[in-house]
Structure formats: structure tokens, C-alpha cells
Symmetry: C2
Subunit: 271 residues, 2 copies
Amino acid sequence: MSKPIVVKVGGSAGINYDFVCDDVAALVREGQRIVLVHGGSHELNLLSEKLGKPPRFLTSPQGFTSRYTDAETLDLFAMVYAGKMNTRIVERLQKRGVNAVGLSGLDGRLLEGPRKASVRAVIDGRQVLVRDDYTGRVEKVNRDLLSLLLEHGYTPVISPPACSTEGEAINVDGDRAAAMIAAALSADQLIILSNVPGLLRYFPDESTLIPELRYANLEQALGFAEGRMKKKVLGASEAIAGGVRQVVFGDARIERPILNAMQGRGTVIRA
Amino acid sequence: MSKPIVVKVGGSAGINYDFVCDDVAALVREGQRIVLVHGGSHELNLLSEKLGKPPRFLTSPQGFTSRYTDAETLDLFAMVYAGKMNTRIVERLQKRGVNAVGLSGLDGRLLEGPRKASVRAVIDGRQVLVRDDYTGRVEKVNRDLLSLLLEHGYTPVISPPACSTEGEAINVDGDRAAAMIAAALSADQLIILSNVPGLLRYFPDESTLIPELRYANLEQALGFAEGRMKKKVLGASEAIAGGVRQVVFGDARIERPILNAMQGRGTVIRA
């Protein structure tokens, strides 16, 4: 059996899920085992607006942003990520002959970690503590469940929410969750696809794509990575620290996005 | 290992999911293997109203009603059933120490059957053919996937949509899906919980509860079963025809609803 690869596809506008699923199907047919992790932020923003509860984001003192996720937001989060997005991606794969199984991080405690007791955020220049936020970080992956499914020919399709130590649903970053999954499975590669061609030196100028990055320089990359890319850089760093051979930031708007990334199109990060 | 039981809990208003999950946890702790199937109709109605797409129902010439499910409704359906409801039930079980895994019928083609090319419905006294409806009927259950999970200590939590033969997401009746699951697993019992105490001779008069019903009399029961109860009677009939020893219609509003039904409280149907 080939070593599995982990593919994370973002949830931003412009991502072509049909191209991603075409590519998963082509690769699975060739014997490649794949674990697909997905986001849903754009759809969640749309639903939140429609339901009169516009999204709010918290910015940490270090400049990382995260969605403010109270209990009601977590319901919407589950609806979009584990509901519509996951179901429709599994459907796309089933239509293409891939025996996909959709899972959230709560299923079998697939993605587990502590819920943050409080989140430090900067609002109007002042630091505040937010306490009703259901967010956390994945520290443990149920590798046995994933292996069980992969060994029986299923293709896992995974999204947050994750499971807190106490069993609560919590919002976790999808890129870093994918990194933990890749490390847990000793995956050969982690491919992180989004609506840009890779890491850009000067966002959003796509001509400033950085084709290669050394693990040792990831800290520096955190400095210029824009908003959502910061978490991807962190994820890449965690995946490689966890033993993954290679991480690629690829473009989810093009045909065969996974194969292209595997062949080095995008930003390639090695140990 | 004990024979599994299949518990279907409806999606109507008034159902106490905490009581249901308390009971699942108590029974699983005692070694009982359980497959939980759930609905979400009430929540789906609320979301549909909020999003300005009020639910519509089709009535067949035989008097069965079903939700009109175009592509947009199916998105909402997935959000509520596979998203919010499934996630929150799995969360309740994880909090109670039950290692639940949520699945829709698309996952591993768990619930598979043909999509209806068209649905015959009576509108304003006239028969019409509805063609953009994503509905169908479960004919095949992926028993291997359920057995795999049960054997490894997981408790499957299942909801529609199902998977059409072509891999499309389709709306199927949850009670009849639960019956197919019970038959596929050779379950000892199928417990169908809803917001009434069982089958009522004169709905909604709860004092007219029918405590026992013979399989041979189910046809007759179809005559007086109100709206949603008709499908439950059909499901009971299909489960027993499929080899399930006993079906019980029980009350999901009371404490220990599953144990009560197992002990004969409600309407008991035997071969």
C-alpha cells in the first residue's frame, strides 16, 4: 500500500471543488490513498449574513485571526462544514466512484484537544479576554479510525469541528488540523490548496510566488504571510516537525490541483 | 457480543435528545450495541422559514406525505440533518463517554437506492408529476461499514440523506431507512421513538394508545395512522419482513425512552 497523502482544501471563494474531486478520483484510481480535509469559511460567512448573525473575527496579540465562535455560531459552523460542504464533497466523490466517508473531528474523537478557557484578543487596540468562545487546538488524532477506513478502501473526508477533551464541539483551524492528521498518519506529503498559487512574498501579487521554502525559514515567512496564510505556514511547520516529508501550498482553482502540487507547482516546503 | 438494536429518534418538536443520549450511554455501558438513526424535520422547517424558503410537502395519491426536496432544499437538509443535528447528537454522546461516529447515507454508500425519476403528487385535487425532486428509497445498506465500526467499539449515529445509485444525495424516509438498517444487521429490535407514546387509535388522543399490534394487522393500522406515523408503520412492516424480532413505537419525551420501549412501553409489534 502506498503511503497516504493528506490534502487540505480551503473554504475560500474561488476554489473549484469539482477539479479537486476529479483529481482525488484520478489519484485514488491509480492506487494513491488520500485523506481529504476541507474548510468552509466562505459559505459560513454567507449563511451567517443571511441569518442575521454576521461573522466576527478575533485578532490575537500576535496578529492571528480566528472566527469568534459562540454556541450559536458553532451550530452554523456544523451546518456548513459537517453538513452542506462535507455532504456535497462526499457526493462529488461518490459520483466519481470514490467510496468517501465524511467525518467531523467529533466522530470517534478523530480530532481532539483542549478547549481554550479564554481567548486573548485585541479589540480597538485594547486586549480583552473572550470567554464564551468554543475554540481550541488539535493535540491528538484518532489514527486507528483513519487507518481502519483507509485499509478497507474508504477515502476519509474530514472537517472541523473538533472534539474537546470534555467532548464538546470546538472550532479548530483546518490547516493545522490537517497538519496533525498528516503527522499522525506519517503521510508522505501534505498538500494545502487554497485560492492563491502558493505563498506570496507580496500578497496579492501572484508574480511574487515563493517556489521553495526551507523549514528553517518558516519563522521568517510568518512575518510576511497574509491573514489566512499565516495558519498554513504554522501548519506546514508542525507537519514537518511531525515527520511529514514535504508540504506544498497549491492552487485549488486549476485543473488537477493535487497532482500539480505533488509535482512541485506552488510553494514547496521541505525539512 | 450482543445483537445490536437499532434506535430511530424522530425530528419533531418535543423530543428530548438528552434523555435519548443518556439512555444510549447507559445501555452501551451495559454492553448493548446500538445504532442510532435520527431525523431533523422540525429544525429543517425552522431553518427553511428563516432563509425565506418555507417547506413544501407533497401528498401521494395513497395519502403519504413527503418533503418537496429540490437541490436547494437538499442543501438545507444536509445542513440540518448531517450538520447541526448529527454533530450535536454525536457531541452529546461523546460528552457521555460513548464513542459515537456520525454518518450520512452517502458515507460509504451506507444507505443506497434509486432516485425517483418523478414523484406523483396530488395538488389541489389534481395529480401532477414532480421532476426536480431529489428523493428515493433505501434498497441497500452497507452492513460491512456498520459492522466494522461496531466491532471496533464505535456507536454509529446515522441520518439521511442517502446515496442514489448514481451517487447523488437524496432525501429518504428516516423510519424506513432505520428499518432497512435493522434488517441488514439482523437486529434484535427496532425502536422507533417520536413525540407521541406510540400508535394512537384516534390521534392525538394519547389515551387511545395501542399497546400491541400483530404484523398481520399492520395493513389495517395504515388506515388510521396519522401523517408521519404512516411511514413508521410501513417501516415496522419492512423491518419484521426483514427478520427483525420486534419493533416498538416509543415515546422520546420521557426519561430512559429506549429502555422503556425495550420493556414494552409503547406499541409493540411482533411477527
